[in-house]
């Protein structure tokens, strides 16, 4: 083990580039790390896919017959809800992953390096968005197999997908903030899910809000999951986009404006244990 303190490589000096360049470069390095991990832990992706498939089957064949929707079949109504729920539940894994990095001391290592502050978070949220895109594609195939017949235009589909990914990205930052604040993987798991249940079920994801009592309707019709679901549903089914569209967009941007700085702040505060 001769000469640990020398290197045969000419220079180990950092390259000189702009701060902006390094923000992007560091983010890509960490997104790559994340995607390698997805490949190395295929079971995580498999279970991440099985869960929404179960929801599709459950609502399509068990509850669906008892839920009345107007203007289309229930399976056509359901799929936009499934897409959005998948995005929302995906945000939990962002938080779990960060809590894990924190526990293992990886965040300490990253924070001691002369790298961009936000890259660990942005790299992960981008990689998680890519993962979610993959799962949504699988969901679409499952949907088509069980009778989903979308009638939206290609442009409508692209717009719907864009909104889904934006929502997924925004919620990932919420998940990241939770994961960094609670510290432990177990807590990130439960704290990450708990707020998503009322949000996804008291929404138009699975049932029309018109069947809910008034007090609940007031909540569900104005919360982001309903607004995103309604908009995505309109896009994929070729229905007219209502004011829900821009409200959904505003929600996504507002979540980003609040939770990106919050997560970066929490990241800067946290050390292992």
């Amino acid at each position: 083990m001769s000469s640990l303190t020398q290197s045969s490589i000419g220079t180990l000096q950092p390259l000189h580039r702009s701060r902006f360049y390094w923000t992007i470069a560091d983010t890509l390095v960490l997104a790559k790390r994340q995607l390698i991990r997805v490949r190395r832990i295929p079971e995580e992706l498999v279970f991440g896919t099985i869960q929404p498939v179960m929801f599709v089957l459950l609502f399509r064949y068990v509850f669906g017959g008892a839920i009345a929707v107007s203007g289309t079949t229930y399976v056509n109504y359901l799929m936009a809800g499934i897409f959005v729920q998948t995005m929302a539940f995906g945000s939990v894994s962002t938080g779990i992953g960060l809590a894990d990095d924190l526990q293992r001391g990886l965040v300490d290592r990253f924070r001691s390096l002369p790298m961009s502050r936000s890259a660990v978070l942005t790299g992960r949220t981008i990689a998680d968005m890519a993962r979610n895109l993959f799962i949504v594609t699988i969901m679409l195939i499952v949907g088509l197999l069980v009778g989903f017949r979308p009638t939206g235009s290609v442009l409508g589909w692209l717009a719907g997908l864009g909104l889904l990914l934006l929502f997924s990205f925004a919620l990932s930052w919420v998940g990241a903030t939770i994961g960094l604040l609670v510290r432990s993987v177990e807590a990130a798991q439960s704290a990450g899910f708990i707020w998503l249940f009322p949000l996804t079920f008291a929404s138009s994801a699975f049932v029309p809000t018109s069947s809910m009592p008034t007090w609940l309707r007031d909540f569900s019709e104005h919360q982001p999951v309903t607004l995103v679901v309604n908009t995505v549903r309109a896009f994929v089914l070729g229905q007219p986009i209502t004011s829900d569209g821009w409200q959904a967009l505003v929600w996504c941007l507002a979540l980003l404006v609040i939770f990106v700085p919050l997560a970066v702040w929490a990241y800067g505060q946290r050390t292992a244990r």
Binding site: S8, I9, I36, R40, R104, G105, R109, L113, T271
Partner: protein, 344 residues
Amino acid sequence: MSHEHTRPASGKPAILAEGLKKRFGETQALRGLDLVAQEGQILALLGPNGAGKTTAVRIFATLLKPDAGRAEVGGFDVVKQADQLRSQIGLTGQYAAVDEYLTGRENLEMVGRLYHLSGSVARRRADELLERFGLSDAANRTLKTYSGGMRRRLDLAASLVILPPILFLDEPTTGLDVRSRLAMWEVIGELVKGGATVLLTTQYLEEADQLADQVAVIDQGLVIARGTSDELKAQMGGERLEVTVARGSDFQAAIRALRPYSEGELQIEREQRRIIAPMPGGARLLPNVVRDLDAAKVQLDDLGLRRPTLDEVFLTLTGHAAETPEGQPAALVSQDQPKERTLA
């Protein structure tokens, strides 16, 4: 062509802390810590769990901001010049901070890229480090398949990617088996020979003894003693002779025989039939001591010369036993075996 350590601005100490304070809720982790490490020195921060060692390292590595006081590393202020400072340091924590699902090579390459080396330099440097740390065969395996010692070596390799002039090693051998620990000591010795400044935290007196130029003993957030390891040992009274007599009736005779050789008060533990006599350089005196005890017809169960344990260091320096958060004496946690030379 070889790349030597880039030196921090000369004339200033490599690591400097003045009156560092840090509180976590109810716990005052640091209560005005002062510390200096000169360039090229290895400074050991010795103390039990919860003494504030890790908190201090985290402040130096810019992971935590101090509540009060100031610190400089490589001439850069840890708060105001954190960005510049980070390109001068390498940090290795208590547990291996590496990604289990990445291979050894992928981990090192990633760290190289994050130190802002070019892709090709990061790749070549990763290979070079893998070879030097004896991990070439395991380069393409994920860390899940590595042993604890291998992970720790990779973690240390990761902190050496850019050959930073200043290294923080936070309990680099805690939890390692004896062989891995000795291997790690060898590596740390190499680093210092090459001119790096190293701040090492440890619970093991022996580790500080073996490796460090300077030792700072830390307890409850304060440095309570500093000096070379020999100076500290002298301060603690050096070696001690422990005698256990076979019969309680021999006790007085044994005390009379030992008193002339003892430097300072005898410590008498009647229930264990044990007498402890401070006796620096005791090996030379030992034949005479044994002869005198024999002449006094004292029957011995045990007789041994030993150096102070970490626990006794704390007793001596603080007047209280070192407590860990779990409430155990530090010696139990640190597994610090007394060095004994027992005569049968």
